[in-house]
Structures are given as structure tokens and as C-alpha cells.
Subunit: 357 residues, 2 copies
């Protein structure tokens, strides 16, 4: 499949390049224009760092390896079927392809699952930003009745011990008196997730390789900046660093087709549901846009299926603008340049411990 993908992408790029050359030989940006665009982009965005290690918390291979096992481990959930990987699947670029994600025992959750890629670099986790770090997300998920369905730390720790994880926790956290703990579960999974960074063609462009972006992608980048998208979607993760009202020019559901949700007793009002402060009504974390082209559907409730439509909706709802089909197409090309490679080891499912007999 990967080879097929690469082949198809390769052929498309070739056809595109040939088409651009044959039809618009004069449309290649000048070297000067390229350099100007690179400079402009560098003022607004940043390439991915090499690592997102926590201060004072080394991502040692033994911790990352344990974290990866725990990420793929489903036997800790109350139905034995849900792990981090269930909502953050390599097959779907670290997300799950569903509009609204599903928890343990098939329970429907009221929001969409983000991709796990680069998420350790964001200001917070979840659409509501109600988890500060990937570690806090992992900690609360394993104890959530909707996610893993466990009811106490002891329950989680007993399961992990019975499954044979004690030697692996000991190796990862040798100084701890009680190595098997939900605290260390969350640290190990956090360590693994902090390795899941996905450098993309756009990073090469930011570092000075003008050829890393196609001409439509460069036009799209320029349009993305000039239209005002960059007002929220900037920085290393092209968003994900701030909170913003969703639906500035009108109620979002009039344009997205969103429906009220039982969990929110009506339309989803974002951070309001956590803070109960009307000032937070309809405020959501601005999503990152890295890998956006390969992680449909879109928005907090997955109400929009395709990227071109998501771009149109955002321009209308947030900026009061109607984009032309050509502008949408160019912006989509730019967004496609944010698609990174799936970290090689992430997609390689580890064999998990067989409970000792």
C-alpha cells in the first residue's frame, strides 16, 4: 500500500509538473519571489524540532519502547479491545477516520479524535484543551469511563502486573519503589508520543529548499497568509498554539451541518463545558494543520468530510470571506505539503507480553 501510495503520488507530481511546464511555462516563480516567500514563511512558521522531550525527562530507548508497547496494549481496557492505537491508528495517519470517536464497549464520544503526530508540541490536548500534556491525556484516558473504562489506579496497575509488564517498568523506571503505576504508564506513553514528529515537505521549504513545494502549493501558502488563515494557524504546528471562537461571523452549525449532542445538551460550546464560563462559549483549541490532508473528517465533530470544503467553511466562518475555487485548490495544495512521513517504527506493531503462566 505504501509503495502504491508513493507510486501514485509520484505519478501525480510528475503529471502536475509536466502540466505546469507545458501549460504555464511562464508561471514558475522567480528565484527572488521564492526567496521572499521563504523569508515571509519563516517569520510565521517554524520547522519541526528534532525532539519534543520534556525538560528533565529523557526519552530513553527503554522508556520509548515501553511506551510503544503500552500504546498498542488493549488488554488494560475494560472490554479488552481499546488502546491508544484504537483512536490513533497508523493506518489513518495517527487518527481514526471517524467523525466522532468511539470509546470502550463501542461508546460514542461527542468529539473527533486528533492525530497523535506532533501533538506533544501543542499548547494542550483535545479540542477543548482540557488536557495540558500528552502525559495528562494518557493518565486520564486510562481512568476514563468512556475511554478505557477503568475505575481505579489499582485496577490498572494490577492488570499491567498480571500481563507481565513488571520487568519492563522496572527497566524503564529503575529508581522507583513502585515501578508499575499509572504515573509511569502516562510517562512512558508520553515519551513514545514525543517521538512521533512528522517532518514534511513544508519543513524543507522553510529551511530554504524552494523546490520542496509545488507552484500551486506556493501560491496556496501565499493565499493562506494573505487571506488571514495564518492569524491562528501559525507556528511550528501551523496552529495548535492558541484558543479561538469557532464561528466568528455566524453560528458554526449553519455552515458545517453540525447537530446538537446529548453530551452537551445542545450544540458543542467548546471550553464552556469545562469552565462553565460564558466567555468560553464556542472557544476551542485551534487545531494544528500538520497532516490535515490525510486526517479527514474535519472539525471538533467531524461534520465536514473533505479538505476543500473545510477550507471554504473556515474562510466563511472565521474571516467572512468566500474563496474562489482556484484559491481553495491552491490552499489545499499548500496544506498537502504539511503531510509528513509516518514515523517508520510507529507503524510496526510490537509483539506484546504473553501473561506468564
Amino acid at each position: 500500500m505504501k509503495k502504491t501510495h508513493q507510486l501514485i503520488s509520484g505519478l501525480s507530481a510528475l503529471a502536475l509538473a509536466a502540466g505546469a511546464f507545458l501549460l504555464f511555462p511562464s508561471l514558475a516563480l522567480s528565484d527572488d519571489a521564492d526567496q521572499a516567500l521563504i523569508a515571509k514563511a519563516n517569520a510565521l512558521f517554524k520547522p519541526l524540532p528534532a525532539s519534543s522531550a520534556l525538560e528533565n525527562s529523557q526519552l530513553t530507548p527503554v522508556r520509548v519502547s515501553l511506551g510503544k508497547a503500552l500504546f498498542y496494549e488493549t488488554r488494560v481496557s475494560s472490554d479488552g479491545r481499546l488502546g491508544c492505537v484504537t483512536c490513533h491508528n497508523p493506518a489513518y495517519h495517527g487518527a481514526d477516520s471517524l467523525a466522532l470517536t468511539l470509546g470502550v464497549h463501542g461508546k460514542q464520544l461527542p468529539r473527533n479524535a486528533h492525530t497523535v503526530f506532533n501533538t506533544s508540541l501543542l499548547i494542550s490536548q483535545h479540542y477543548g484543551g482540557n488536557r495540558a500534556t500528552v502525559e495528562e491525556q494518557a493518565y486520564k484516558a486510562v481512568l476514563s469511563p468512556l475511554a478505557y473504562g477503568n475505575t481505579s489506579n489499582e485496577q490498572v496497575e494490577t492488570k499491567l502486573t498480571q500481563l507481565g509488564y513488571l520487568p519492563l517498568f522496572k527497566a524503564a523506571y529503575p529508581a522507583d519503589e513502585k515501578p508499575v503505576s499509572v504515573e509511569n504508564w502516562s510517562k512512558a506513553i508520553g515519551a513514545f508520543e514525543r517521538t512521533l514528529l512528522t517532518p514534511a515537505p513544508f519543513d524543507k521549504f522553510l529551511k530554504g529548499d524552494a523546490q520542496a513545494l509545488s507552484r500551486p502549493a506556493k501560491l496556496g501558502l501565499d493565499k493562506f497568509i494573505n487571506t488571514g488563515c495564518v492569524g491562528c494557524h501559525s507556528g511550528v504546528t501551523v496552529g495548535g498554539q492558541s484558543y479561538q471562537k469557532f464561528g466568528i461571523t455566524q453560528d458554526y452549525w449553519l455552515v458545517t451541518g453540525s447537530t446538537p449532542k446529548d453530551a452537551f445538551k445542545g450544540y458543542d460550546k467548546g471550553r464552556f463545558h469545562d469552565t462553565k464560563d460564558e466567555a468560553d462559549a464556542f472557544i476551542f483549541k485551534v487545531p494544528q494543520l500538520r497532516n490535515v490532508a490525510v486526517t479527514p473528517p474535519y472539525f471538533h465533530d467531524g461534520s465536514v468530510a473533505t479538505l476543500p470544503q473545510a477550507v471554504r467553511v473556515m474562510a466563511q466562518l472565521q474571516l467572512g470571506k468566500q474563496l474562489s475555487d482556484e484559491d481553495v485548490s491552491h490552499i489545499v495544495s499548500f496544506l498537502e505539503s504539511l503531510t509528513g512521513d509516518i514515523p517508520a517504527d510507529f507503524a510496526n506493531v510490537p509483539g506484546l507480553p504473553v501473561a506468564p503462566h
Copy 2:
């Protein structure tokens, strides 16, 4: 994790070998005894073949690659969450670690899921043997209300087309007028599954490498043969080639702790539920024993958690014998020599098509 596993196994083997040498220097089998055991084993078992291709159906790379994508594809199920991989997970050696497997929308099924490894070589599929081939299993699963939850061939085919699979089916089945079909879904998945063979230390032993089995494993093999286990568990897959009553000396639930199941209006009577013939009461397909040590829990309802207990239960229920702890330990050592390597490419999750916009 894999490295950790190998390390742990390596150390155990070393300790075992050293222990055997220090404590029982005279217990090494003689070369003659080794050769006799290899000859005896070759009369009862066979090494894995290089391929399990269907006659007249080539396992071309493009078909196998499509089959792998479809194996990992969950968006075709009615909750968007279930694929072949859900019950046949690389993390659990091609099975799912659950006593009773779960279908779409978390529905509990009444039987345990087998490992997908080497299953194309068996006489039939499922504990009831009610699927002739892996292809028939894949065909019926995608249309089963309990498994994928689809209600018609058209529904499956429409989903596959909308997800962008048409070019991949065309490439795999270029001569077909209608490439996207449930028929070709089943053929492609079958092609992939036919590649999932797991050669194990026991295969090396059968081919003449006396050192491929530890001394306890050789003693266990001899005990396995002489106790009568081999009466059913023989051939290339060490079982899986015949049907047999489960519970010859007494009702199985008296020993396994099995409970009645609603789906069967009582205890599971095996093939009887398909044929309604009392002669088939309690007749099940004899499971293969390849990878048995790494695919707990055991039996058609996963009622027994550990391999030593499963060995004891079988000796008592099928042969009316009480095995000593030492015999059980040796037989378990032999069964561990049936654990094969996870096929490398199997564990590497493919990126799946993103629906075209």
C-alpha cells in the same frame, strides 16, 4: 518490545541449557536418540510449506498488497472500527487475546478468535469449521451482522469505491469487468492471509536440526506422541486437519469451567449448531497448535487462561489421563517450539487510502 522478548527468551534458553548441563550432564539425548526422535516426528508432522497458494490463483504482489490494506481497513464496517486486524492483531500473534471475541459495535460473539497465522492450511475455518477457506471466511465476515455489520454486497462495494480503492482493485484484478466486488475483497484478503506462515524451531528440528529443540522440548515431544495427543494434533499444523468431540471422557464444562451461552441456548455443542444433527453434538474442529503458547486464552470459549492448564485439561477430557507436573512442563516446552516469528511485513501497518475529494 520484540528485542526485549528475544532477550528474555535468549536468557531463559541459556539458563535452561546451563542448568541442564550442570545438574543433569548425562541427560543430553544421544545423537542416535535425537535422530530416532526426528524420524518419529517426521512420520507424524510436516514442516510448513513455502506457500499456501490456491491452485490456479497466484498470490501476486499487487493482490497481496491490496489484501493487506483490506485486512487493516476498518471503514468498511458499520461502526467504522472493525477490520480483520481487530480480531487478528499482530500484537497478539494474529489473535485478539480475548476469551470471546467482539464484533462490530462491541457485540460479544460466542466463540474465541483463532490466530490468522497458518490458518489457510487448515481443513476449514472457525471452531465450528463452518467456513471452508480463508476466502469464504473473509466473504461472510464482511456481510455478517455480528462481524462487519454490512447488509448487502452493494453496500460493501460502494464503501470501497468511495474510499478510493477502485485503482487498487483494477490493478489486482485487471481482467474483471467489475473489479470492486465482495468476491475480489475475499480473494485479495485470502491472498494476503495465505502469505502468513510462521516457520518455527520445530520446523528446523523436523528438517534435521537436533539442536533446534531444547532437551525439555524433546522430552515433551516424545511425551506428546506417547500420551496420544498426536492422535488429533498431527500434520503440518499440528492439528487443524480433522474434527473431534470435545469432552470424550466427561462433559467439557465440568473441567474447563465453561458457562452456557445465550447464542447456543445452553452449552456450546459445536458443529451441531450448524448441522442440527445430534451426531455432531460437541464436535469441533481440532485447533492447530502452531503458536499456541502465545495465543491464550484457550478452547472454543477461551475458558482456560494458561497453557499448562490447557494441557492438563486436554489429557483428562480427551484421553482420560492425569499428567504429572513434569510431563506438563515438558509438553509446554515442546509447544513453545511451535511459536514462529511474526511475518515481518504483517506487523507493519499500511497507510490506507484517503478518500479522494
